[in-house]
């Protein structure tokens, strides 16, 4: 068996124990499996191995196995993570690996949750509305420095791990009042686009519940694309809401500017 410590690359095959949550909306429990782990395997490989060899009816969602489709989101040892991007040699080798579905969404079966709420939220956000073209051929002139901020947000793969870890959704169940970090990032990408002319600030305050975010930065910590969600998207949007609704001086300026 391997003796490589957690966080280093193992070169040997070893047996590892898993506790995988099995069940549906009516309830469920953790079921134990043992898996032969070979070097280079990720958690999703182990789940596939369990599926192939021990539990053919184990449900899990996956697609690209390269951290780009955002399908295999789950909680590994209690941390929201992509199963395909969690290498086995980064987990404590002597401990049972716990794999369970995301907690902020309704369960369908085993590791699969119903994330359709997110798609409904996205439909409500006002779409991109560009200004009139800058050039006669119907194109716009933009500079890299102007699109840099939005480019970071466009890296999002919609894995919804940020939604899962956000305590406003996970613990307080404010799905009806709060759009969650994913859609604050989406809104920020639109709002900070210099070509866009739409105003979403009132929606952010009155409908999207941006005030519910209390800046715990959990979303930033779990983002597999390393988007600085809180500092670069949510807080700048909060400040734009302050400009519009809470700061008497900026309100006064706006009144005179018209």
């Amino acid at each position: 068996m391997s003796s490589a410590p957690a966080g280093t690359t193992s070169t040997e095959t070893r047996i590892m124990n898993f506790r995988v949550w099995r069940g549906d909306a009516n309830g469920g429990a953790f079921v134990e499996y043992s898996v032969e782990v070979t070097p280079g395997m990720v958690v999703l490989d182990c789940i596939h191995k369990i599926q192939a060899e021990q539990a053919q009816d184990l449900a899990c969602r996956w697609n690209c196995k390269a951290g780009k489709c955002g399908s295999c989101s789950a909680e590994i040892n209690g941390k929201p993570s992509l199963m395909c991007m969690t290498r086995m040699d980064t987990l404590p080798k002597d401990e049972t690996v716990m794999v369970e579905p995301m907690q902020a969404f309704p369960i369908l079966r085993d590791l699969v949750t119903d994330v359709s709420w997110n798609y409904e939220v996205k439909k409500k956000i006002k779409p991109f509305k560009p200004r009139a073209p800058d050039n006669a051929d119907g194109t716009w002139t933009t500079y890299q420095v102007d699109v840099e901020r939005a480019q970071e947000f466009r890296k999002c793969i919609e894995c919804f791990l940020c939604q899962d870890v956000c305590h406003v959704l996970r613990d307080h169940h404010k799905h009806d009042e709060f759009i969650g970090p994913r859609f604050l990032v989406f809104t920020a990408a639109l709002e900070m686009n210099p070509l866009d002319t739409e105003d979403r600030i009132a929606d952010l305050k009155k409908r999207d519940g941006i005030g519910y975010c209390n800046i715990g930065k959990c979303c930033t910590k779990v983002c597999p694309e390393h988007i600085t969600i809180t500092d670069n998207a949510i807080i700048p949007l909060k400040e734009r809401v302050v400009d519009e609704f809470y700061d008497p001086i900026t309100r006064l300026f706006r009144m005179f500017k018209g």
Binding site: A25, E75, N77, G78, K79, P80, P92, E95, M98, E100, P101, Q103, A104, F105, P106, I107, T113, D114, W117, E120, V121, Y143, V145, D146, E148, V165, H167, V168, R170, D171, H172, H173, K174, H175, D176, E191, M192, N193, P194, D196, G209, G211, Y212, C213, N214, I215, G216, K217, C218, K221, T230, D231, I235, P236, E239, R240, V242, D243, Y246, D247
Partner: protein
Amino acid sequence: MTKISLPQARGFLQTNRKDLWWLQPLVVLLGFGAFIVYSTWAALQGSHYFIGGPSDPGAQQLLSPFYSPVVWDAANLKSGHAWFEGLPAWWPAWMIFSPALLILPFPGLFRFTCYYYRGAYYKAFWGDPVSCAVGEPKFRGDNYRGEEKFPLIFQNVHRYALYIAIVFIFLLAFDAWTSLWNVDSTGAKHFGVSVGSLVLTMNVVLLGGYTFGCHCWRHLVGGKHDCMSCSKMRQNAYSRVSWLNARHMLFAWMSLFWVGFTDVYVRLCSMGVWTDYRIF
């Protein structure tokens, strides 16, 4: 929108995380807690907040940042920094007067409403959440108000606290400059640098790094605009403030520690426990 039912309800502190998730909130609790206790105690003392000046000739003029600016000196003390003589007439007679009581609420408000500190103390002091993916106290449940409603909607005053904090940076920079001078018994001023001068200078550098890395400041110098290429000055200011902002937590902790240490240094020198050694 349809109400969704969730799979598993977590109890308080319940989690399947296997790492030391409790360590960071504990360190924050102890760090902030220690600072709050010490600064409150130091502010209530109303003594040992300066060395040098007319009542202490020959020593470099050091003033504790907890007491700067000195609007009125404490009773029977003459720091040489006070703006007005005597005690404020409107101060209630039943209340202890200490110059720091007029000062600390302002930097206190800046830190209390700071975006970094908010996230940190919500976790450490009232478990909202205790840590990421760790169960919260059940009493909050669906009644969670966040910063959407009273009382925490008040956090939106942060930019006004920033404006005051910027004034304090200039005042503390003046104190660092003043610390490079000592007054002899004839009242003449002489240039010199002591360990205390360096302590006060480092204090204003760290506080400046923290203040000018503020999220509000980042917004005000350029972040609120979509077009960065429209102004070279805006672009430069935004990129420099963004550099500081990415290190906001680091500067928040370093400046918190150092401002406390600066008070300790001045206090112990004033009490005669430490000597403020002259470098030249």
